[in-house]
Symmetry: C2
Subunit: 352 residues, 2 copies
């Protein structure tokens, strides 16, 4: 079902409002879990993998919180489906490009799910709109408990949860926020902020995590440390850091507008003009132009467009989304044309 | 009166339709004439200049074709007025920046006029919309005859009309067309065309003649030779060259659209998007963006905007026009803002 509907509203971690969602697009927490007595996914034989996948899948099917979820066998799916799931942040890049048996559970709200046979046997995840880490943790720890009651987790008293990659050992938790910081970039404060965040054990990357490029002033902030800290400590820390960064961003935005309102107006409206008129738009240019628009909306300079529309454009103009909507494969040139059409349609009615 | 109305419609050499006006904005012919027995303007003493100005002005006042004209004493006018008259092509750059006694006659249609005490004692000029050199010559030669009946022109049987600058000796005539050639520029055929035109005794410059920059793919083609040729020969030649160039431009445009319609659509609509949305626009950027819009309109790619609107924007967003409209002096930053407002207003209603 998720694969049949490329519409925006089904993607509730982005389409619904959330705390500070003017700046924080979404909050995500994932837990890496493995079943004791089995090799990690990449070291398992086909037979061992099939067995652990079966055990994990059965356990997930029994979880109350996942009732009504879809279970998608990834190795049977076309590349387009996998890209689509990745664009919805339901599977990792690694899952999208894998070859072996693996699957994903997706709750109907698309805010809760689980990957089976990623590098860890199970990765549970919650994605919520805005800055909403506590609620995310509340849901995820409940799901984790449901699962722990059924599975014998690979766990060490000394280290905590054991994971395929040593960087996850301990809590096995990665919590992150996707955040838009145009004013900190414009005022060149962003590097200082990145350094400060790193000193606090957090890391800043592109919106798809490790190795993903930063485009359109969208950053992902996540915890680096999983060992020797509690989950709640980590979440609290990320929460407060994010609050502070949003605060700095707001101050920088206000200052920029005070100092150069006409310049900002001009930049925002030019981006609007190009997005609403161009006949071809690449994915990269779209992200770059959405940034001044989002800035315009959140700072009050642009009242004619809603954040909702910008979020919809952000999600639904990604390559797999466009192809799903068209109902057929499109090469990159064709995508640029339908992307521009989609955006024009969505921005229509906004008068300047 | 001309100085009190910065509106578009009074400028009939641009606001009215004319032959081939999709590509040829205007046709202009001017005649340089001097009164025998007086030094050329720049060599004349103040007394001599006053006397020759008086003689010329009286003669011009008596011309039937100039009846109802305004006579403007330039040395008494503010710099803004002079710039405005230059933007309307009623006076030359030289006239605008002069210091001495000098004046201009402007017919109510703004298509016929005369400068007094430019480098020559008199410069008569006709400006008509589109490619309309024959009609222009018809009017101008009639005015010339009216004047010749009253004045003793400096004339040599061997050379023809004597002029302050040797490049005008002979016919004293400069005929020119202002022409938009985006496709020849895009397809890199323009330099070949410029060379060919030069070999035919014509020259290509920016829209304000000698020393003026080429912006927005607008060119002025004019005759170089005034000696040993007749006026009508020269006009015929320029007419046919212009027809041929328009033909080449149309072919290049059709070919470009056939080969890259999406690319052209995109370029045209992006220009539209920026022009209709930007909050600040320099004069240079405006001209550069008007070019793809005009191309879009003339080639049929853009049906939502009229040539008339583009011509109005072209004329009325020039610096002096903007200040006249605002009713006060504006610095360059202020002009960029009101220019963008004016354009946005004019493009409003054109849906994309």
């Amino acid at each position: 079902m998720i694969l049949d509907d490329p519409g925006f509203t089904t993607c509730q971690w982005l389409s619904r409002p959330g705390p500070l969602c003017s700046h924080v697009l979404s909050s995500r927490i994932r837990l890496a879990r493995n079943v004791a007595g089995f090799p990690f996914s990449h070291w398992a034989s086909t037979g061992e993998l099939a067995k652990v996948v079966s055990i994990c899948s059965n356990a997930l099917r029994n979880c109350r919180l996942l009732s009504g979820s879809e279970e998608i066998q990834l190795e049977t799916r076309a590349a387009l489906d996998l890209s689509f799931l990745m664009e919805r942040h339901q599977i990792s890049q690694e899952m999208a490009h894998g070859q072996t048996q693996r699957s994903v559970f997706v709750q109907s709200t698309q805010t809760l799910g689980a990957m089976v046979a990623e590098e860890d046997h199970i990765r549970l995840q919650v994605l919520l709109p805005g800055l909403n880490l506590h609620e995310a943790w509340h849901i995820l720890s409940e799901l984790d408990e449901e699962l722990a009651n059924q599975l014998n987790y690979a766990y060490s008293e000394r280290l905590g949860f054991l994971t395929a990659c040593p960087t996850n050992v301990g809590t096995g938790m990665r919590c992150s926020v996707m955040i838009h910081l145009p004013a900190l970039v414009m005022t060149r404060q962003i590097q200082k902020m990145i350094n400060a965040v790193a000193q606090l054990g957090m890391t800043i990357r592109g919106p798809h995590g490790e190795g993903s490029e930063i485009k359109g002033n969208l950053f992902q902030i996540s915890n680096q440390v999983t060992l020797g800290v509690s989950e709640l400590e980590t979440i609290e820390k990320l929460y407060h850091i994010t609050e502070q960064i949003v605060d700095s961003e707001k101050k920088a935005a206000a200052q920029t507008i005070e100092e150069a309102e006409e310049e900002i107006q001009d930049r925002v409206w030019r981006a609007f003009g190009i997005l609403s008129s161009a006949r071809k738009l690449t994915s990269k240019e779209t992200l770059e132009l959405l940034s001044p628009l989002r800035f315009g909306v959140t700072s009050g300079v642009l009242k004619e467009v809603s954040l909702d529309t910008l979020n919809e454009i952000f999600l639904c103009t990604r390559p797999a989304h466009l192809q799903k909507r068209a109902g057929k494969p499109l090469d990159s040139k064709e995508r640029d044309i339908v992307r521009a059409q989609f955006i024009k349609e969505r921005l229509k009615g906004a008068t300047c």
